[in-house]
Amino acid sequence: MSYLFESFTGWKAYCENNDKKIFQTVIEYETAQKGKSEEVIWSNLQKAYTVMKDAVDTGLKEDMTSRSGMINNGAKKVYNHPKSVLSPEFQKLISRALAAKEVNSCMGRVVAAPTAGASGILPGTLYTLQEIHQLSDGKILEGLLVGAGIALIIEQKASLAGAVGGCQAETGSAAAMAAGAIVYCLDGNIDQIFNAVAITIQCMLGLVCDPVAGLVEIPCVVRNASAAAIANSSAQIALANVSAVIPVDECVEAMGEIGANMETKYKETALGGLAATLTGQEISKKVLIQDIEILPDEDLPE
């Protein structure tokens, strides 16, 4: 069982050889590794999904102004705008991903999925998917399990942390989880699910983590919206059996390789990219605490 979440090829073989549905193997893993009963797993998933939906609703209802002021009720404005670029559904998808992530930036309650910085992507996509296709909560929870399995492999072969692999590791992984979950929920087969993951990773590769003033706000919030859109475009492509050509395991390896070679200034240090722009630096001066005590040597802790 321990090899299960080391590669997508191994995961697929396990499902086929044992005639198991993909989500069932994730439950098996959790039971074997953490000794949790199936009942506890389902109830924890339901709790997580409820927190996700609550985050979307809260972000669209309550005041969402961050202490820095950089986040200021953007999700509501998008949700209520009279002009839809594509369709009202697309407008809802984007505003919901923004909403849940704004809740995170404004010290509200979210599910880190897989991380706090990417906490708007699964809520935005799954909320909208459930509404459009009239799916049961049970189906969505199965989709979450598929997403968790995807993240477990990415964690092994690459990374889920911005400080290790850049933004591709956070929003990229969340988008890959969402794309896999969408295809699963729309009755795609295992090849289509993993193909959606591969395509999503191809779209997110190389994204750096360059948060202005080091805060989880700019560009994190808008990247949660774009990642939600990419998850949907990848799912649409994968459902039509358009191949990613590069197999999913190799895509994840590429993500790991890019992360390993990414310069430190692009890994959550707020030293490069948008954080290092003129405006980024000005904001940083305003937002960050400047009156820091610098102790003389003899007073420093030993």
Binding site: S68, L144, G214
Partner: protein
Amino acid sequence: MGTKSSVFDMIGPVMIGPSSSHTAGVVRIARAAIKVLGGIPEEAVITFYNSFARTYEGHGSDLAILGGLLDLKTDDSNIKKSFELAKEKGLKYTFKSIGNASVYHPNTIKLNLTKNGRKIEVIGESLGGGIINIAEVDGFHANFSAQSHTLILKAQDISGAIAFISSVIAQEKANIATMSVSRKGKNDIACHVIEMDSGIQPITIEYLRSLPWVKELIYIPDIDL
């Protein structure tokens, strides 16, 4: 990576934003500290070091530390209102920032807490993903994660103390995960910090506490409950 991740590390934890190291981890450091103190403090001096010194306000770590000191959990939406709650509960607090304590982890917090005349000092590190390390308690090396059951025992530095304590724990069939012992000096006070995979009975805690050479015993079952 030592242990395999859980499904609920991927879909979770449920937490208050914006960042696991700046909010969830900080709340947990404070929760560990109030277990050491034995309740919500009347007065708290909170020092943020290094990276935290500059970023604690932007990330809301000031609200998170107060929330934890007020016994709020990592997923409590009231953390946002910690300033008001502190006023209501009569918790007086002061914040300090020190930028150049390079001997400390980048995300370090020192808590000096007072309650009913009892004063404690706890130094905690937020390691990412909400994981913490309590580095020091009252000047003694502690190094515990507060993820399992922790025993902090201050005792006279006598021979056989470590063997005695571990045999008492062994009788409870509790497996010791980590143990660190440090002392101020020879035959002075020694501090034993023991992390166990499972809990021990109240009667055993009382027994250890009753030993003449044991000066103080703090038992921390689970800081997230």
